[in-house]
């Protein structure tokens, strides 16, 4: 008999390859929740295929997918309470959909038109919405982590039961903000869950070039936080680990660091060609551990889905996405002088002056 592996060195799993689950870790979710999770998985997968196609057709400017990593945003999205705050990184926009943000509004953010709640100001895959307590990601790597800790700190001070969930990729663990935020979280014992999606690549740099630590999760030890290494392609493992960490945070037990081990199947973004720096064999190896396939195997094993179910579901989702794109594409752009709104709560004189100058000038060529 071997000694049990420490949570920050092992791999927390629920799903087994044969389609069963580990009864010691299974969260035993009701069937309708499992089916809703499955629907979200398939919806995000199909949505992103369509979004990348739109970009390739020149209909939108940019997209960064989470293909192969969907289990983490969806697992966390289901584990979070509606009042919890999410400070995402690049591949967690889909949490908004899981938490009830309308699909057409989500797609409107990719087009940046009048239906976009962000008013055409933030780039795609950096989605946010107050409605679902999701804050804009910073394109600089790391600053959202101390912000998540600060939001959790405020909740603790104000005796709110809110938990802040802050995300990062493996590359972010090289940033000062990661270490500083982990340190603050530990010192002030704030109710937060910090989640690292270790997808093995920071654009073209592998995780082995970010750290020589045995795992990323083990870094939590230095800051006095529990660290858990989670199978990030195991939807139920992500759900369970997040739910446990959030419950502990809500009960005053302080922060947790989760390393969700996964793999970026697609490119970093539509601006990237990963064949320049990684082997197709490696990608194929990870495709065998696809989070959608693994969750499906479990549902099939449970007798909850089959090919006919999936065909109907995909057709339904396809229609939903097509309808949303149709409702959004072609809508008017935000008025050009709306750029001056929300710089401040009320525009100061110099912005009003610049607004008048802009409106007096020739109209800008429309994008797209």
């Amino acid at each position: 008999m071997t000694a049990p592996t420490a949570p920050d060195l092992g791999l927390f799993q629920v799903l087994r390859d044969d389609g069963s689950t580990d009864p010691a870790t299974d969260p035993f979710l009701p069937q309708d929740t499992l089916l809703r999770m499955y629907r979200e998985l398939r919806r995000v997968r199909l949505l992103e295929v369509r979004m990348v196609a739109l970009q390739r057709q020149g209909r939108v400017g940019f997209y960064g997918t989470c293909t192969g990593q969907e289990a983490t945003p969806i697992g966390v999205g289901f584990a979070a309470d509606p009042g919890d705050w999410v400070f995402p990184a690049l591949r967690e926009s889909a949490i908004m959909l899981v938490r009830g943000f309308p699909l057409d509004r989500y797609i409107a953010q990719v087009f940046g038109n009048e239906l976009d709640v962000l008013k055409g100001r933030q780039m795609p895959s950096h989605m946010s919405a107050r409605q679902v307590n999701q804050v804009s990601w910073s394109s600089c790597i790391g600053p959202q982590i101390p912000q998540a800790v600060g939001a959790a700190w405020a909740a603790k001070m104000r005796r709110r039961s809110m938990v802040a969930i802050g995300f990062m990729g493996d590359g972010a663990t090289s940033q000062p903000d990661f270490h500083n935020a982990m340190n603050f979280a530990g010192v002030f014992k704030v109710p937060c869950v910090l989640v690292c999606q270790n997808n093995h690549w920071s654009i073209s740099v592998p995780t082995s070039r970010q750290t020589s630590s045995a795992t990323l999760a083990i870094k939590a030890r230095a800051y006095g936080l529990p660290g858990v290494r989670v199978d990030g392609n195991d939807l139920l493992a992500v759900y369970r680990a997040t739910a446990d960490a959030a419950a502990r945070a809500r009960d005053g037990g302080g922060p947790t660091f989760l390393e969700c081990v996964t793999y970026r199947i697609g490119a970093h973004s539509t601006s990237d060609d990963p064949t320049r720096y990684r082997s197709e064999a490696e990608v194929e190896e990870w495709k065998k551990r696809d989070p959608l396939d693994r969750f499906r195997r479990y549902l099939v094993h449970q007798g909850l889905v089959d090919d006919a179910h999936d065909a109907q579901l995909d057709a339904e989702i396809g229609d939903e996405i097509s309808a949303a794109i149709a409702a959004v594409e072609g809508r008017a752009n935000p008025p050009r002088d709306s750029i001056f709104d929300d710089v401040y709560a009320r525009p100061p004189w110099h912005l009003e002056e610049q607004r008048r100058e802009l409106l007096a000038g020739p109209p800008a060529p429309s994008h797209g």
């Binding site: 705050w85 400070f87 976009d116 709640v117 962000l118 008013k119 100001r121 933030q122 950096h126 946010s128 919405a129 107050r130 804050v135 804009s136 910073s138 394109s139 600089c140 600053p143 982590i145 101390p146 912000q147 998540a148 800790v149 600060g150 939001a151 959790a152 700190w153 405020a154 909740a155 001070m157 104000r158 709110r160 809110m162 802040a164 000062p176 903000d177 500083n180 935020a181 340190n183 603050f184 010192v187 709104d341 929300d342 710089v343 401040y344 709560a345 100061p348 004189w349 110099h350 912005l351």
Partner: protein, 325 residues
């Protein structure tokens, strides 16, 4: 009215805010038992308790970043950064995050954050404690910047910064802290974005702020003895600029001199001159002038430090030059 130092006036405003608003707290390095690097928060921890005055781990980017998160999360943090020089460690949080989040979120997320920091030279603390980088912050859309020069303004502009729904950066000059003045401790917030005429005059407009205001006023007195009648405008808010007040004065005096402890190239003084030239050029009788710091890292030795900074003598000479040619 009470006779208070600038330091005591800031502390009084902090006490009033922290005691009256349950959402408010002060955070930063050494703000607790130590009372702040410039003793501004001295006594507040004992008076108000550790929930209100919080020492943090030593990391500017994170206590500013946590402040941003706390503001988003419904608290009203007041962050003390030891000096503007150290605030550069938090520049990403400030410029890429605090300043942009309201706009990037389509107006859905506000960051009602106050960040106070010391600025300026004159205490022989060398380059990494002594620079004046207010203009860096005054360049950034989405933030407001104030630089109170008097004890009364130290109080009233901090109250205004706190009441404002935007991120506001408050620059306190290191030589201002011991300044004494009569302070009305029942006053409310001063309006942001409004300059004030500290000395009326007819022949020259001297624009100054923060630690340069006492020098500008002393120079105006010296110029008066030479028969030059100079007005002195205290800018108070560096972003947004009160161009209206500056323009009105320059139209009357027809001459402009700006005193700025920052470096001349790319300075706020340069921006003020540019805006005046753009708007009231035909009212000018002489080219505007600037007195700024020499473009060197501020040195330690007292005579070297003095050589680098705007002085009353340099302001007088420049004022004489603008008026007499």
């Amino acid at each position: 009215m009470t006779r208070l130092t600038y330091r005591e006036a800031v502390r009084g405003a902090l006490r009033q805010i922290l005691a009256s608003d349950p959402r408010a707290f002060l955070l930063g390095e050494d703000v607790g038992k130590y009372g702040g690097a410039y003793a501004v928060s001295k006594g507040l921890l004992a008076e108000l308790g550790p929930a209100k005055v919080r020492d943090t781990p030593l990391c500017e980017s994170t206590f500013v970043g946590a402040g941003i998160g706390a503001a988003i999360g419904g608290a009203r943090p007041i962050v003390e950064v030891m000096t503007v020089n150290f605030s550069l460690l938090a520049l990403d949080q400030i410029v890429n995050n605090a300043a942009t989040l309201r706009h990037m979120s389509g107006g859905q997320v506000a960051v009602p954050l106050v960040v106070r920091m010391a600025t300026g030279a004159g205490r022989q603390l060398a380059a990494q404690h002594s620079h004046s980088l207010e203009n860096w912050y005054a360049h950034v859309p989405g933030v407001k910047v104030v630089a109170p020069a008097t004890p009364q303004d130290a109080r009233d502009l901090l109250l205004a910064a706190y009441a404002d729904p935007n991120p506001v950066f408050v620059f306190e000059h290191v030589l201002s802290y011991p300044l004494e003045g009569e302070v009305d401790e029942t006053s409310g917030a001063a309006p942001l974005g409004r300059a004030i005429v500290r000395r009326a005059g007819t022949q020259l407009t001297i624009v100054a702020w923060g630690g340069s205001l006492p020098k500008a006023l002393a120079a105006a007195e010296a110029l008066a003895a030479e028969g030059v009648d100079a007005a002195v405008i205290d800018l108070r808010t560096l972003r947004p600029l009160d161009l209206e007040a500056i323009g009105a004065s320059v139209r009357a005096t027809r001459r402009l001199l700006v005193v700025d402890e920052g470096w001349k190239t790319g300075s706020l003084a340069g921006e003020i001159v540019a805006q005046v030239v753009e708007t009231v050029f035909f009212d000018l009788d002489a080219p505007p002038a600037r007195v700024c710091s020499r473009e060197v890292p501020i040195p330690y030795a007292a005579h070297l430090e003095a050589a680098a900074l705007p002085s009353v003598e340099r302001i007088v000479a420049a004022g004489r030059g603008v008026v007499r040619g």
